[in-house]
Amino acid sequence: MNLFKSGTFHGGVHPAGNKRWTEQKKVEVLPIPPQVIIPVQQHIGAPSKAVVEKGAVVRIGDPVSEAGGFVSVPAHASISGTVSAVEERMHPLGSPVLSIVIDGDGEENWNPDIGYQADYLSLDRAIMLDRIRAAGLAGMGGATFPTHVKLAPPAGKTIDAVILNGAECEPYLTADHRLMLEKSKEILLGLQLMVKILGAAKAAIGIEKNKPDAIQAMKKGVAELNLPYEVIALPVKYPQGAEKQLIKAVTDREVPSGGLPMDVGCVVQNVGTSAAVYEAIACRRPVIDRVVTVTGTGVREPKNVLARIGTPYSFVLEQCGGMAENAGKLIMGGPMMGLAQVSLDIPVIKGTSGILILDAREGRRREEQVCISCAHCIDACPMGLMPKMIAAFVKKGRLNDAEAYQVLDCIECGSCAYVCPAHINLVHWLRYGKSEIIRAKRKAG
């Protein structure tokens, strides 16, 4: 039975994987940190609203904020203890965000509502969605889009395929890889629930071929649970795990420009999100921890850890042998799309798939030179754009031309800037062009 027709996307790049440092290492459960910092904004959409005040006593899994709209999710206490502050703290996205700071009581007091319910599969669809929302689920691959929104497409949109993203195409990161090995059943049970919620006809798990053990583990899981899902081995090519490129690779459908996956009948979820969906529905367990790959030449003991949400980077690094002396760049996420950080005083949030530290030599961008029109950026662009032309337009303020060259389709994967022999940070210019165009549009109404 072959329900899927595979395709491949144009372009892409082949950066060194650098996954060998952590791919064989089992996920290590980190000790409970003495303090966690839980920002009200850990997802795309409206920030959540704090529902606790300084001095409040919280258990693990208690909500500390409530959704601030439909596209919003609550946050939960990840340790038990006392709220010591509700104030602005530095956030991985770069600016201070209101955060709930909890000082731990050194114990593990859980919210008693959390627990396995055997008949969870017979729950009503609305209850399932509500549990997902209440668990604070947002895409754990890094994009952090609220999961319940993706699972409730507007009327008139039918979803026939659910695709699990196990590509993990970002170099260095192995969090999803380890999860697929160690929690394959939870991932598949989560997928089963999402297929049920969406009424989809089929489902597949896409995994890059550089993780043969994960492919085997998922195939084994599918067979043992007797589920009709396909495990698809994908070519190793960045950005294989980008949503549109993954859909193309698995179904040969192209999400139209400016459109969403549901326009071609697909919903894509990260494997980590899927496991969390299972725990949210079957156990009413909110997102209080996640697997983080702590790696790079700047980390003494690279490993995969299960960290509580809100754990400061400094604490995580202490558990990984500390930082090497030549540490030069701190990144949340992978090296292609991750965000550079200025300090270790920021917390792990729901989208923190990795903490990557590069040494000073690697971390420094090489000096920008003139474009020699080699067109490597055009060959590399997985969206079929002409980054060289668009960057030149944006530099000159010609936003109309940039828009005509479809800069808004840029997925900011960084392939263009990765290959550029003149070291021009093309994606930076495209990103800037996008934001300027969107701002001008908002202004115009």
């Binding site: 996307f9 961008r365 020699i372």
Partner: protein, 345 residues
């Protein structure tokens, strides 16, 4: 744990590629052909190469100094231009010619436009065109360059003995056979026959011609390396050589339509050098695959047009220069297909 980190926007890793790496690799790929030219034409060829390179590199440094710009001669681009310019002149030119050509190529062909990346035409070819227009006799004398054992026919103009030149003159005689004495016509027949019979010599490059253009074999060795390293794509050389082959077969023969000898036309003259090393110049060739195919085909059409109809025996350099000027138009009309099609409105 107080620590200072670098901060920049993603991506945080970069490919090892760089402009100097590309320029020096292309230069290195030309070394087999350069070595062969010294074997073929003697030390004079080496002197011309060194003078041309020196002229280009010094001109670049002086021009940048005068314009108070950073001096970028270490990027290897002027070096490459100098070598390519030397490849495009005869080993018999006076030694001041490559110097003047190099100065012109860099000063007028490159720096006045803003330097590397901004020149509309290939600087080396522009330098050659300038020299050809200014010293046409020097630039077309190849007599002493013809080594022993090569195939110079009985045609009387021995001073322009490149295979294409011999061919052009023989063809001229054959086309108007009634105007010429019988022995002359016979000689022309014999000349064409000899040319066609000695394709192997043509392939190895034991013939008259410009310093770097003669050896198909050694140019191909370098080209394979460049294709492997992806510094050039197959599109431009493919469509260029392909279109020359087809058009030369149809129109390039001495006995009417469809009598052309494909291999002769492909191996002779500067086509290999032009198609693999000059037309593929990143700065002056189109950005997209489709654009590169059109560009190469255009070069092929103009090359054959000049060889068959025009006044020069060879048209590679002019064809590339002319197509260089069309690149902005080609780029605008060959945008790649965007993933997901045009914008949904």
């Amino acid at each position: 744990m107080e620590h200072t980190f670098y901060v920049s926007s993603s991506p945080h890793i970069q490919d090892r590629e760089s402009i100097p790496r590309i320029m020096f690799s292309v230069t290195a790929s030309l070394l087999p052909a350069a070595g062969y030219s010294v074997y073929l034409f003697g030390w004079r060829a080496l002197w011309i190469m060194l003078l041309s390179i020196a002229a280009c590199v010094i001109t670049e440094a002086v021009a940048q100094k005068m314009m108070k710009k950073p001096i970028t001669i270490s990027d290897g681009s002027a070096l490459l231009t100098g070598l390519l310019l030397a490849f495009n002149v005869s080993a018999q030119v006076p030694l001041y010619l490559p110097v003047i050509g190099g100065i012109f190529a860099i000063a007028v062909g490159k720096q006045v436009f803003g330097g590397l990346g901004f020149n509309p035409m290939n600087p080396a070819l522009l330098g050659r065109a300038f020299l050809l227009a200014s010293w046409p006799t020097h630039m077309t004398v190849f007599s002493e360059a013809v080594p022993r054992g090569s195939t110079v026919s009985g045609i009387d103009v021995i001073t322009s003995a490149t295979p294409l030149n011999v061919f052009k003159q023989a063809k001229e005689v054959l086309a108007h056979a009634s105007d010429y004495p019988v022995e002359k016509v016979n000689q022309a027949h014999e000349a064409v026959g000899q040319l066609y019979d000695n394709l192997d010599t043509l392939f190895v490059g034991q013939i008259g011609g410009c310093i770097g253009e003669t050896s198909v074999l050694f140019l191909l060795i370098g080209a394979v390396y460049l294709l492997y390293k992806r510094y050039i794509g197959w599109e431009i050389p493919g469509s260029y050589i392909g279109s020359v082959a087809v058009l030369a077969w149809i129109f390039g023969g001495s006995e009417g339509l469809f009598s052309g000898n494909i291999l002769f036309h492909v191996f002779a003259g500067g086509l290999m050098l032009g198609a693999f090393y000059m037309a593929t110049d990143m700065v002056t060739s189109p950005l997209t695959r489709k654009g590169r195919l059109i560009f190469g085909a255009g070069c092929g059409v103009i090359t054959v047009l000049i060889r068959v109809v025009g006044g020069y025996p060879e048209g590679v350099s002019y064809s590339i220069l002319l197509m260089n000027l069309l690149v902005p138009v080609i780029d605008r009309s060959t945008r790649p297909k965007v993933f997901g099609g045009a914008k949904k409105s």
